[in-house]
Symmetry: C2
Subunit: 668 residues, 2 copies
């Protein structure tokens, strides 16, 4: 996340070929999971809010006098019914519908809940000491004030910048307590860019000029000028790069002439290869997968009640005063049209089906966003299994991909939920977009070995006068597994070295299983020297050999924080201190860093909730897995970064009695 | 690796549809990279041995009296010319050709080298204290002796087994010094299986009966009977599983009507999307990629001189006397028709091109093996990059996959070299096949939580009386990177916590780069708390901003040994003690656990070579990366395991001056 200028301008434009090509194949190109259509909408208690529902919420708030001119909506989300209500609900029943709204007015924060069916304001209350997510309107307002501030104008003039038509000054929220001014105030900090000569402002930072602003009072508090640096001038118009086939490229085409092999029912149930699930597109956390189950013979077996991203923590690693505050909690701190942004024709294959979603405007009105999600089957060209024994046997595989893209200003993250035929869900994050850059005086690396502009270094010089700053990415996923039912336990199969003395062998490892009884026992720190298999089991359901049925969360490449846990930034990303947390299901515990992540004292969310060290054995539990990576930028990551994928698996472990893909067809 | 019965019987059969379907598309379906064709073969000093060359080697050895009736060939491989010779060679020049042969006769081991062009035996010498890789003929011979041994017959009779037609008793090599009998002898140890009621013997172990044999003397030394256990009877005929589409499955087809977008020249040079490389199919280590370079504008830039698997270490973690010896070095200990086995129609897509290779027979004659490798382009359905900024931009990607499959009796490993358009090579290992099982008395897990048959446990009960034993997999890859030339350095960018005090922030990390000067400095132990970026740079070649050009080896999910480094088994897999080693290029240093891995004292290969702690700075260096994973078996892994993928990246890092895929076409 960096500056936000023009992120949403023309945001609904998509390449015109997108619909045409899909439609030409006879596939409904754009299904609105969240919009009222032929059938009454919503269809299910976990569906996203419809246009009509947004307006009901808006009108109830307006009529109760809570939407004044100075009020901004920071969040407007479906308030999920508790699980028991959802379990008791059946199609045809009245659908419970509520919305949670966070509002801000003159620096104060308010929470409201609206019962949609009865058009009733259930509560409206001030929440002291917290800050609502920032809205587009607030950012625009402060930008307009900043650019007129005489101190800013003077600093720009010193730098020779007098044409203000291409300059944007954008204080953005602070996640941790950087300045004393944050105490009790809605404070932003930021810098200016000059888009002159480009069509976007990434990499056009006016370094050395920083603005402290009060969003609540709509006032510039301080303008700090640490001295001018040269404007980086390298071409950054990457979107104008030629699009040309490399020599010898021939068409490579995937077709599905009989249409997709998944089905989406009239009421939004998705079925594919024994999988069943629903999803909605949430403005804060993107795709929320619900009621994932697997048809195993006659049994429709629950696997996961809900799975979604919960928060993202992206701390930058620069000590300069203009930079050390940069630490983002990208899901919770910005409303800004919703976390996920529309997908384009280069994001999903032509055969994909696209889904429309809604996000609230700064005034709580619905913004319709086409193409917020896409769904497609993928050819893996990989065997689901194989064995060579007097010749070959095996089965090829395919998979189902549900994709969205979180866009936080500069950075883009592809967020994929990939359903495999073998009962595994692969969750993949593809980092791409534009890395965040700082203006520097260096134009060239002078060190003999060319290892960096300085040692130790805080970034990589990606262009003259432009350094991409070292940073981390942490993604917390909230995974409400319900393996064969809601009451589960968390089993840690620790691999423990054991001394033996047979056959001249002296050391092996053995599996020491344990059930985590409390939240503290459920906190897992990954360590190559202390490996463990992490499984969510149903202690009441056993397979044919007696094992409790289970689903394993299998980490892959990841990273853990290496800075001090007491650091003010690290504290707001406190969920990253453990790679796995397990909590008892508590409907209001949804966001790993807490609901309010601006100017936070830190250690909110998971670190706070788990202080109670609650029981997690044989009860309804929720897994929180954090995927991370450190990022030292390469020149190859500039001006836009080749997609770097990370993933983890949610996979059956003694859930089936044997390999569930034995009987796949040879044609995948 | 387990018992080997019938691994190669009918091994050349492939589904007849394989060729037909490819040919119907007008693609040459089967190209023999290693066989003489229309053009004179070999074409290049690094090509595999041709049929004629095998026979030359065979005849030279025979004529010199070294192929007696009691002689078995354990290895017969191309002896690569040293790099300087290859660099100096040009098409049209005479091609230097030599072969290295390992022979065994009456328990003694011999090495020979033959100059093929001059048909000259360069040397033939006994190598004391080592054992040659085991050949099929030796295993067959000892099996025939074992099954007639009265002690074996008595032990079988006690178990009620009198029909010997389905029984196989197969002592196999020992990697570490398990028994005193191994001192100076060629010793095998193993058990018997009874295939009755199945068409293969995996999971039909006659537990409790173990046979110690001397391959050299062709003699059974000991028969150990620790008592009968019930024969597991569960259906294991997985290859007979129905192949049926799941409900709703519709065709999903990839086509490339204009043929592949790669080219293979008459002399075996492969070009695709700026990549250029060659490969051969080696009997010991499988696919060997050579002279990988990238066309960057006018410059054809070297990246990797050679890349291949080097060794596999698979230790089992069982303390019972019949099991604690099981520890495999799967590349080095078996000749057995070559490490890689033919691919079938379920291993590669229809559009793939297949390659023929050769392996030596137990008598040094060429065995022609069709379909040892396949090559195809893959649709990724993933953007090479994307960014949302006033609408979307991005480019879709495709990739090139070169696949082979190592088959070690029970286990199958798909070994993929995946070339990406962005200059990255992804090396992926897909583990599938049949997990190794032990007969046990348990038929059911009795523990209340169903967490295992015993605590601590050594495996998973996958069927009544059948336990899949815990184990590890370690794959050492030898990567002779030559980034912009042969002289490279190994740069470790260590991320180091740093205390700061700006803006209320107290702790960040910074990059502390260092050049590893010696082999000891080049040994890397992965540790989440001490992360580093691992890059091979050319200190003499700098990009436009001054950085030394480089390629990074980026680990992904992996595991490290947790047993004692002094354990006799762990010692033979000593290369796994560090995840990265860097050595100066030394032509004879090819196998991470040493050339001879049977009855080894351990700490051969990398641990031995690096004792000299040689200089690795600004010289021709070789990277050795070990990918590992621990394996606690799931029920889902039985009777054949769904493919579990692990990978790592070899990717440009400041090699290009900017993102090399900016200009890809929108149609990938």
């Amino acid at each position: 996340m960096g500056t936000l200028k023009s992120l949403l301008a023309n945001s609904t434009s998509v390449k015109s070929g997108l619909f045409k090509s899909s439609l030409a194949m006879g596939i409904v190109a754009c299904i609105s999971l969240n919009a009222p259509g032929q059938q009454a909408y919503p269809h299910h208690p976990l569906d996203g809010l419809s246009t009509a529902e947004y307006w009901t919420v808006h009108d109830v708030l307006a009529q109760s006098g809570h939407l004044t001119e100075s009020t901004f909506v920071g969040s407007l989300l479906l308030h999920e019914p508790v699980k028991d209500v959802v379990f008791a609900w059946h199609p045809g029943d009245a659908i419970p519908r509520e919305a949670d709204v966070v509002l801000t007015s003159e620096g104060k924060t308010f929470e409201a809940r609206v019962d949609i069916n009865s058009r009733k304001l259930e509560f409206y209350k001030e929440i002291p000491g917290v800050q609502a997510p920032i809205s587009e309107a607030e950012l625009n307002a402060i930008s307009e004030i900043a650019i007129k501030d005489p101190r800013v104008l003077a600093a720009l003039k010193v730098r020779g910048i007098t044409d203000l038509s291409t300059v944007a000054c954008e204080p953005i929220p602070l996640t941790f307590r950087v300045f004393p001014e944050e105490e009790g105030h809605r404070i932003g900090y930021g810098d200016c860019t000059d888009q002159h000569g480009a069509y976007h402002a990434w990499g056009r930072i006016i370094e050395g000029l920083y603005i402290l602003a009060d969003f609540g009072q709509q006032k510039i508090l301080k303008v700090i000028d640490t001295g001018a640096l040269p404007m980086p001038r390298e071409d950054i118009n990457f979107e104008e790069a030629d699009a040309r086939a490399r020599p010898g490229t021939t068409p490579l085409t995937v077709s599905q002439p009989q249409g997709p092999a998944y089905t989406i029912s009239n009421t939004g149930d998705i079925s594919w290869q024994n999988w069943h699930f629903r999803f909605r597109l949430d403005p804060r956390i993107g795709t929320v997968i619900n009621q994932v189950s697997y048809q195993d013979g006659d049994r429709l077996r629950p696997v996961m009640y809900e799975g979604s991203l919960s928060e993202m923590y992206v701390p930058y690693m620069e000590k300069d005063a203009g930079w050390s505050w940069r630490s983002f909690l990208d899901a919770g701190e910005f409303l800004y049209g919703g976390l996920i942004k529309p997908l384009g024709a280069d994001d999903c294959p032509e055969r994909a089906e696209f889904f429309t979603g809604y996000a609230p405007s700064s005034k709580g009105q619905p913004l319709r966003r086409e193409n917020l999600g896409c769904l497609f089957e993928r050819v893996t060209d990989n065997p689901a299994w194989r064995h060579f024994e007097n010749g070959n046997s095996g089965r090829m595989s395919r998979e189902l991909v549900l994709r969205s893209a979180a866009v936080l200003g500069n950075y883009d993250y592809l967020l994929d939920w990939i359903f495999q035929q073998d009962g595994t869900i692969r969750v993949a994050v593809g980092a791409t977009g534009v890395v965040e850059t700082k203006g520097v005086k260096e134009t060239h690396v002078e060190d003999k070995m060319g290892v960096g502009p300085a040692e130790p270094s805080y970034g990589t010089l990606v262009a003259p006068n432009l350094m991409a700053v070292n940073h981390d990415h942490y993604f917390s996923f909230r995974l409400d597994l319900d393996v064969d039912g809601a009451k589960n336990s968390f089993m840690v199969d620790r691999m423990v070295p054991q001394t033996i003395s047979t056959n001249n062998r002296t050391s092996i490892w053995a599996v020491q299983p344990s059930i985590a009884k409390t939240e503290k026992e459920g906190m897992i720190n990954l360590d190559y020297k202390r490996p463990a298999m992490l499984t969510f089991i149903n202690p009441s359901v056993h397979g044919k050999l007696g094992y409790a049925t289970g689903y394993e969360i299998m980490p892959a490449a990841t990273a853990v924080p290496i800075v001090s846990p007491d650091d003010a930034s690290q504290r707001v990303g406190g969920f990253s201190l453990h790679q796995m947390w397990v909590t008892p299901y508590e409907p209001e515990e949804r966001y790993a860093a807490g609901t309010y992540v601006s100017s936070s004292p830190g250690m909110q969310g998971l670190p706070e909730w788990t202080k109670a060290n609650r029981n997690i054995e044989d009860t309804d539990i929720v897994a929180w897995y954090t995927l991370g990576f450190h990022h030292i930028v390469r020149l190859e990551d500039w001006p836009v970064m080749p997609t770097l994928w990370h993933d983890f698996l949610i996979r059956p472990s003694n859930f089936f009695d044997q390999n569930p893909v034995l009987t796949l067809p040879h044609q995948p």
